[in-house]
């Protein structure tokens, strides 16, 4: 392994977090985050698929012809997603209904494809599995954070438990789509500010980006 355990975990959870740094897998991270429980299920489902597809594709990486590798990757991913979908349908029928098409849409989630292309292509199976696993955990954490804010302000609950003890008015807007865009925009802003500061503590402006 070229990088140590710690580096791998830190890279996936923080410096190259798939959602807030790489801007991948946004579709589902916005759509399911109005409730904590949905986000947790979605995040764990994605983690499972990313880890196992990383493992499988890394095992197969020398057998797949380059020209058709995209379609093979998609098929492997789709197979695991079907597994997750069936499990969620059987064990948690209510949440499955609430998530609707978004579980199946894990197939086209760019995180999984991105990990398969960028990491599992050239790394041994176990490392690829860990990489996929922690990429998924990084995604889950961001999802839970956004869901925490949206559920607490929108419904006054956390995981369905009432935390609105003062009986304040809830903000309907937090449950609606625009707030998800605002929150993720702000989160990206905060994270990139913190990381920039670490890079050049003098506070010099970084390279101009668009």
């Amino acid at each position: 392994m070229a990088e140590s355990w710690k580096q791998l975990v830190k890279r996936n959870l923080w410096t190259e977090n798939q959602v807030v740094r790489q801007i991948l897998g946004i579709c589902s991270s916005l759509a399911v985050t109005n409730l904590m429980a949905n986000s947790l299920v979605m995040g764990l489902g994605l983690t499972f698929v990313t880890a196992l597809s990383g493992l499988t594709l890394s095992l197969l990486r020398n057998l797949i012809p380059r020209r058709i590798r995209m379609i093979v990757q998609t098929l492997v991913i789709a197979a695991y997603v079907i597994l997750v979908d069936l499990i969620i349908k059987a064990a948690l029928p209510d949440i499955s209904k609430a998530l609707g098409p978004y579980v199946a849409l894990i197939i086209t989630n760019c995180i999984i494809m991105g990990r398969a292309e960028a990491y599992a292509q050239k790394n041994p199976p176990v490392a690829s599995m860990l990489d996929g696993f922690f990429a998924g955990i990084g995604y889950t954490l961001v999802l839970l954070l956004i869901a925490l804010i949206r559920e607490a302000l929108g419904f006054g609950t956390i995981f369905g438990y009432n935390v609105n003890l003062l009986g304040l008015d809830t903000w309907t807007i937090m449950v609606m789509p625009p707030s998800a865009f605002f929150l993720i925009g702000i989160l990206i802003w905060l994270v990139s500010n913190v990381q920039e500061k670490k890079k050049n503590p003098a506070g010099k402006p970084g390279p101009a980006k668009r």
Binding site: A31, G100, L105, P177, P178, N193, R210
Partner: protein, 199 residues
């Protein structure tokens, strides 16, 4: 939703452009929406390509769902079938364009493979299955969703082109501000939701 009274296809068409826009209210196709919206021309080109693929794959997937998946009881592997259809039809469109419309192909060339992993394409097929649309409803839903996606990405790209010269707080430039703008656009589109709703 099979028990609900049928919704007029015309309403579905306009609702999927405006009030239940694929990007602004269903969050589908975000990856390319954020990363390919720096320039109006390319964004609009991608929008057109996505609309085209949406209409084509919807027709094929509708036929597959009703004549293959349902009669043979293949629901458990339907996702694999749909994604193969999408990948294959993107490939076919790419080859056909290369042969018959070389100009357009050169313009869109790099985006076509990206469309396969655009969640909006798979998304509309899944919505069609979940909401049990009829053929006419499904086709107008696909056309409306495509137009809505095109509208949203063109609008965002046009705004971002204007923004290129303005000063932004450090760290917010790039994707951060794109999300904030999208949020504002979504708010504006919610204003229309009194006109017609589909869900």
């Amino acid at each position: 939703m099979s028990g609900a009274p049928p919704i007029s296809p015309i309403i579905i068409f306009f609702a999927s452009i405006l009030t239940s826009n694929m990007i602004l209210s269903n969050f589908l196709g975000m990856c390319s929406f954020i990363s390919v919206s720096n320039e109006y021309k390319t964004a609009s080109g991608l929008g057109k390509a996505v609309s085209l693929v949406m209409i084509l794959t919807m027709a094929i997937n509708y036929a597959i769902y009703h004549f293959l998946v349902l009669p043979l009881g293949l629901e458990y592997i339907q996702y694999i079938i749909y994604i193969i259809v999408i990948a294959a039809s993107v490939q076919v469109i790419e080859m056909a364009m290369d042969r018959f419309l070389p100009d357009l192909y050169l313009k869109l060339g790099i985006f076509l493979p990206l469309i396969t992993v655009n969640c909006a394409i798979l998304g509309i097929t899944l919505f069609m299955v979940i909401r049990q649309y009829t053929f006419l409803q499904a086709m107008l839903f696909a056309a409306g969703s495509g137009l809505g996606w095109w509208l949203a990405i063109s609008a965002l790209a046009a705004i971002r082109e204007k923004m290129a010269r303005s000063k932004l707080p450090r760290g917010l430039a790039g994707p951060g501000i794109a999300f904030i703008i999208t949020g504002l656009m979504a708010l504006a589109f919610i204003g229309l939701s009194g006109v017609f709703a589909v869900q």
